[in-house]
């Protein structure tokens, strides 16, 4: 590391006007003969799969074992490769296509060849979801998840080797003996693009550039539109492999040499000290796998080129120079900044730093960018660019440490989500969290944690439930606050694994009540589900659960559960409030006699048949001897019974129904009927107080206009309630003349009060007498004015009284 930093441009190669460079990703420093490339192998952007004697192993670029597939899944294997999009390993056997969904525990999704095909044919070759059968050479697509025939050959074309066809997302190109067929996957059109031409190898770029190679002529041809050849190249020796570098340049490989082909026969060469075993096309370059290490050839990005090209006068290069000058010649360094487009320089430096892999270079470039940025006017530059740049550099660096060697462009295509999914598949949970933290993306935490926990449960068959629980709990504490752990799902997974106790305990830890309850319900612990549900204090939730339980349980079981958990919480009875049958049963079972009694009364009042219910209620109440109030009320109910019996006899005697009456009404009715004997009976038997009797009698008599009887009643003996009630009753009913006559009986009332009452009922005569007695001359004079003019008699009376006074 101490060596002086070399200008990276020293090993760039130029092809026409574009620079290319080859950089070493990593050593293939593996032990134990794994790098025996004589066996079959496959690569993806981050993984390498190698076929051993009877196992297929997958490693990261750094040689860490990710997973293994045993021989049971390798019968009749034809080839294996990684899916470009998801990096899942696809094992192609003669009769099935197997996708490895998860490594530990091994989860294989097998897609067998449909039976109608299996009888007559087997798989011949497979590339990225396109299958060719051996005998018929019919072509199928399995991209949708099942076999779909896309081309029936019917002898149209013959494919000689597995190199004579290729496909990408949009098309399949087939090299027949004398024709080149294009098949469009979107429109399902098969077209003979170049008739009468012979080619032996083909490779298509992701942008549908087609590269053909003729073995005999050693000729390479590239086109997008078959009518227009873009590039033609005659090789001096036959290449071992031909691949695309990115999607625009052809790479040919020889034993230890790589050539990038340019127009007009030009090419650039990279030499390697070891044997080249494979090429792999990436979105922005090509990976060269040698027996000793992996290299990456890519085009030099314009920002990097601007800065590091020898003799560059681009803003980036000057900015870097200025920054280097800063230490020794600060004024000049600052002066320099004025001479170029600073903003572009800063952006170039940021972008270049992302493209570099050497940490020292990254630092220098970012420092220069930061230096330049600080001289830019505020608002003319979005500082987030720099921050984002730094974050990306940090992320890519830490990915590299994990053995994931990807460039910015590859990261953009894989995306964070893809990366997390790959890491989860490799069980690198800790790394997942690290990356999420670097990216400040906490939305994946849930998925990561869920996967971790479920895998943990599945793999730890020799652990006790309690051990697993503590492990999971310990991890939960590590998580950031406010983060919802999907414990219900984990619980469900452990339920499926047959760990019921663990499932229950995990479900109990779930924060979201409805998920928790659902899980407990699924674990079949009704009681626990209900008690937990009650804790959420959400009646609607509880009732939803109860309805579900009602379906599942027998009525007896349900009532048992209610008694156990909800004896003092009447939610279920509330919902069943109009189901009297259930409630009668329920209350009887739980011995709530008072509630039962009240329920009866409620039903009675709704049916308007209170009479039939009173004696059962009375019976019930009698059983509750401990309650002071109920005891008292039992007596009152008895009294009511007595009334009804008496009314019954009255009904029989008089032939009019009395039973609908209250006691007061009964009495009133009897007074009205002038049944003095019965009236006395009632008063005696039901201990009716004198006060009340007077009120009732007075009221009844007035209503019947029996004024003489009323007066007799009033005079019979001194009224215990006084005479004001008589007055009031009469006055109210409009009998003012009669009312006035009771005023004089009110011996206790003051003169003023009486005067007021008399004026109110126009009892002028009485008032004149009264005033005369009280010698109230003033009052009389006032009265004189009050008396209506059509009553001369009264006026005379007033003057007479005044005169006598």
């Amino acid at each position: 590391m101490q060596d002086k930093l070399k200008n990276p441009s020293l090993n760039w190669e130029r092809l026409s006007n574009i620079f290319y460079r080859s950089r070493k990703l990593c050593e293939l420093d593996w032990t134990g003969g794994k790098n025996d490339f004589s066996t079959k192998f496959a690569t993806s952007t981050t993984l390498i799969a190698i076929m051993g004697e009877d196992t297929l192993s997958v490693y990261s670029y750094l040689g860490a074992l990710i997973g293994q597939v045993g021989s049971e899944n390798l019968e009749n294997v034809i080839k294996f490769e990684f899916d470009n999009e998801t990096e899942k390993l696809v094992i192609v056997c003669q009769d099935a296509i197997k996708v490895i969904e998860n490594w530990l525990p091994l989860e294989v999704k097998s897609l067998p060849v449909p039976e109608e095909i299996r009888d007559r044919d087997i798989i011949w070759d497979y590339k990225q979801g396109i299958v060719i059968l051996k005998d018929s050479k019919d072509i199928y697509s399995v991209r949708s998840g099942n076999f779909e025939k896309i081309i029936s050959n019917n002898g149209q074309f013959r494919l000689l080797t597995k190199d004579s066809w290729d496909c990408n997302e949009k098309m399949v190109v087939l090299l027949d003996m004398d024709n080149v067929y294009h098949f469009d996957l979107l429109t399902n059109d098969l077209e003979n693009a170049i008739p009468n031409s012979q080619w032996h190898r083909i490779t298509i770029s992701s942008k549908s550039f087609v590269c053909l190679y003729n073995l005999k002529d050693e000729k390479i041809q590239v086109y997008k539109d078959p009518q227009r050849t873009l590039l033609e190249h005659t090789m001096d020796k036959s290449p071992i492999d031909i691949k695309w570098c990115g999607n625009d340049t052809i790479v040919t490989s020889f034993e230890d040499e790589i050539r990038l082909l340019g127009p007009d026969g030009s090419y650039a060469t990279f030499w390697y000290p070891f044997e080249i075993v494979d090429l792999r096309t990436e979105v922005d370059g090509v990976k060269v796998i040698t027996t000793n290490g992996i290299f990456f050839i890519s085009r030099v990005e314009s920002s990097t080129e601007n800065i590091f090209r020898i003799g560059s006068t681009e803003p980036g290069a000057i900015l870097l120079d200025s920054w280097k000058l800063l230490k020794e010649h600060a004024p000049r360094a600052l002066e320099n900044l004025k001479s170029f487009d600073l903003k572009k320089g800063v952006l170039d430096c940021i972008h270049a730093s992302i493209n570099e892999w050497d940490i020292r270079l990254q630092k220098i470039l970012l420092n220069a960018a930061s230096f330049g940025k600080s001289s830019l006017a505020y608002k003319s530059f979005d500082a987030n660019e720099l921050v984002k740049g730094c974050e990306l550099v940090k992320l890519l660096n830490s990915l590299r440490k994990m053995g994931i060697f990807i460039t910015r462009k590859q990261y953009e295509i894989i995306t964070l989500r893809g990366l997390i999914q790959r890491l989860i598949r490799a069980h690198k949970y800790y790394e997942c969290f690290q990356i999420c933290r670097l990216e400040n993306s906490f939305e994946f935490f849930q998925e990561i944690f869920l996967n971790w926990a479920i895998t943990k449960i599945k793999l730890s068959s020799n652990f006790e439930d309690s051990e697993l629980l503590t492990t999971i709990e310990r991890q939960i504490i590590e998580l950031p606050e406010k983060f919802h752990v999907p414990l219900a799902k984990i619980a469900h997974a452990s339920f499926l694994e047959g760990r019921f106790q663990l499932a229950r305990n995990l479900a109990l830890l779930e924060k979201e009540p409805e998920l928790k309850i659902l899980e407990l319900y699924k674990v079949d612990d009704n009681n626990l589900a209900l008690t937990e549900c009650l804790k959420a204090e959400s009646p609607e939730l509880t009732i939803s659960l109860l309805f579900k339980l009602q379906e599942k349980l027998t009525p007896v079981q349900l009532i048992k559960l209610l008694i156990l958990d909800m004896i003092d919480y009447s939610l279920y009875p509330y919902v069943q409030r109009n189901n009297y049958g259930f409630l009668f049963d329920f209350y009887r079972q739980i011995d709530k006699l008072i509630d039962l009694g009240q329920l009866m009364i409620k039903q009675a009042q709704q049916q308007d048949s209170i009479k039939t219910f009173v004696s059962p209620v009375e019976e019930l109440y009698k059983k509750v001897s401990t309650d002071a109030l109920i005891k008292q009320d039992t007596e009152l109910l008895k009294r009511q019974d007595k009334l009804w019996n008496y009314q019954e006899s009255l009904t029989n005697t008089f032939g009019i129904s009395f039973t609908e009456y209250t006691l007061d009404e009964t009495l009133s009715k009897l007074i009205e009927m002038q049944q003095e004997r019965q009236v006395k009976d009632v008063v005696k038997n039901f201990k009716i107080g004198e006060f009340k009797f007077y009120h009732i009698k007075c009221r009844t008599l007035v209503a019947q206009r029996r004024f003489d009887d009323l007066m007799k009643f009033a005079m019979d003996k001194k009224s215990p309630i006084g005479y004001l009630p008589f007055y009031k009753r009469l006055r109210r009913e409009g009998f003012i003349r009669e009312a006035a006559s009771y005023v004089s009986l009110m011996t206790g009332a003051s003169y003023e009060k009486k005067k007021e009452l008399l004026i109110d009922c126009k009892g002028y005569k009485e008032l004149i007498q009264l005033a005369g007695k009280h010698k109230d001359i003033v009052g009389l004079k006032e009265l004189y004015k009050m008396v209506p003019p059509n009553e001369p008699e009264l006026k005379v009376m007033i003057t007479d009284t005044i005169n006598t006074l």
Binding site: H484, E512, P513, E514, I517, L518, Y521, K522, A536, E537, S538, P539, E540, L541, I543, S544, L545, F547, K548, E551, D568, Y569, S570, L571, P573, Y574, V575, R577, N578, K592, D595, Q598, I601, K602, Q605, Q606, I610, V614, T626, D627, A628, L629, Q632, D633, L636, L637, R639, Q640, T662, L663, D664, F686, I688, F691, K692, H695, I696, R699, I721, K728
Partner: protein
Amino acid sequence: MDSNWNTRKFIRLNRDSLCQILNLVSGDDQILVIQPNVLSLLNKLISFTQLTETTSVRKIVILDDQLQDDLANITATLPDIKVVFLIDVRLDIVIPSQLAAVAKLNQNRELNVIYCTFTTQRSNRLNTPEENGIPHFIKSQLSASYDGVVKLYGWDILPIPELGDNVLLSHLLYNGEGDNMYFPRTASMESAMRSILVDNMVNCLQSLFRQTRTTVTNVAAMGRESKKFLNLLRERISLDDDDDEELFIKDTLYGNKYQRDFKTDLIVIERDMDPITPLLTQLTYAGILDDLYEFADDGKLKGKNNVELDYRKDEIWEELKFLNFGAIGPQLNRRAKDLQNKYESRHSADSVGEIKQFVDSLGTLQERQKLLKAHTTLSTDVLNQVETDESLQFNSILELEQDFLLHNLDNRTSCESILEMIYEGDTDSTRILRLICLMSIVRISIRDKDFENFKKELIDTFGIEILFQLERLTQAGLFTSKSLLDSKQYNSKLLKEYRYISKWLDTLPNTDDQIPTAVGPHLDPSNPKEPTFAYCGVVPLTTRYIQMLYDRSVLSQNYSSQQPFIISRNPNLLGTHELLEQIYGNSDIFESGTWIPESRKKPSNGSKQKTNISGKEQNDIAIIVFLGGITMGEIATLKHLQNQLREKKIYKRFIIVSDGLTNGARMIGTSSFKRS
């Protein structure tokens, strides 16, 4: 914060979400079948024309026994029309039987049901199609009689302002059968019904907080359910996932980094804390109307359909509703004169400009005249009833109430007065029961002899049914006897005689104002010093409690001079536990505290009230949740309290959120199964 609580906006939000759901259900023509209890809400939100314009609803039918025929008629002419049900079973839980019946007959049709709910209702999460899941309770009830596809749509409702911008009623107090969710007819149902009420109110508040992006800082709870409410709310809020923006706002406003001066108080109080107030005769304009005619859920007076009392359109109502009825006359008079002067001004109009001005204002003048006339008629009606209707016994009851509260009468006289009223036979049972309960509560209990006598006399006069109503009142602690209390099986709502409570809390202040009566004149009614104007000279207990949270001047003068503070911007129950222990026998049901701790940085300008640049005071939001129903009088006195605090430099904007309105008739009435 203040502007987030533009409560009139909630009406639009409710309307929009309904329309959105209807459009989501389908674009085809629809018949909307409405459960009757949703109707009053719907009427407040949207008119039929508006509904047909913005959605594909073409017809509206009521979900009743006629429904089958109505549907048959409509589908005969419009066979392709889609039936959409709109129901509210938040309180009933049980779906209407007619809905089940219709579902049973239409097995092949898809069943679309919109149900009222809250965004935060947990059970809504059950409403996702999952195999082996627990279905939403509406779905499971429907599937008992119906095999087809049930599609449930939750309509998230916010409470809307009624009576005033700061009074939000959620109408959750009475279920479909008219039973009171807080104080149900059957005592054994209380646990279930209160839990449903509390759950709904918690959701109601949580949706409000979400909508207004409110973070509560200080809380106080008074009462058993209130405390439950508070704990549940806090727990549910903690389950909420805040998005980044929310976290940022919270951190900025309440984090430690910055000084903060935003306070939002949440005060929860419930009916059990003050059983007295609803038993009293109300004397405010709105209160008297509620007592005499009763406000229905749609905000109209029962039996007075032509009177529309909408505070947004009717400025007279807005200004007068919370005044003592005695002050209404002069106020109306003043307005009449004012109006007259305006009309007269045309005589002095000389120039064309002035005449034009007059003509332009003619419309509003006529409008005002109309309103003035309506209110004059209404208040005359009230006056007539109060003075002449013997069955009301308005003045004698008012007098008795006052005597009971002031402890003017001994046991014997009190009983005799009530008995006389029974004997006279004019007054209905509800009014009598109100008085008896009042007497029982203020004295803790009634003597055994009187207790039994009351029961006997009431049965004799009103029939045996009243016995069970009385049982219920005893179970609720509103009507008890000495020996029942001694048996420990029954309790009284208040454990201390009212004469002590009234002294400690000064609920019967000896103001120089003449104690107001309904009709008599009294001094300066528009600006009373103490909030005694809503009832017979008494300040409601609840009002005093809420005052006590901020202002201890009353307690320090009448209870104990040792108070931890005299005035506080944060609601605080500190040092009141002994008092509450004496009144309720249990101070554990009271709680106050902070949900967001004070920031460590002290505001630089000391504890002074924050004033913004224009020098105007900023109001803290104080949400007062009232469980078990609020009375008109209490709303009025709380408004008065708000102004009282303002004078002491505590600037609060009280927003009252309650489950419904209550008064004596409703409270006593729901204790009986028979409710007219």
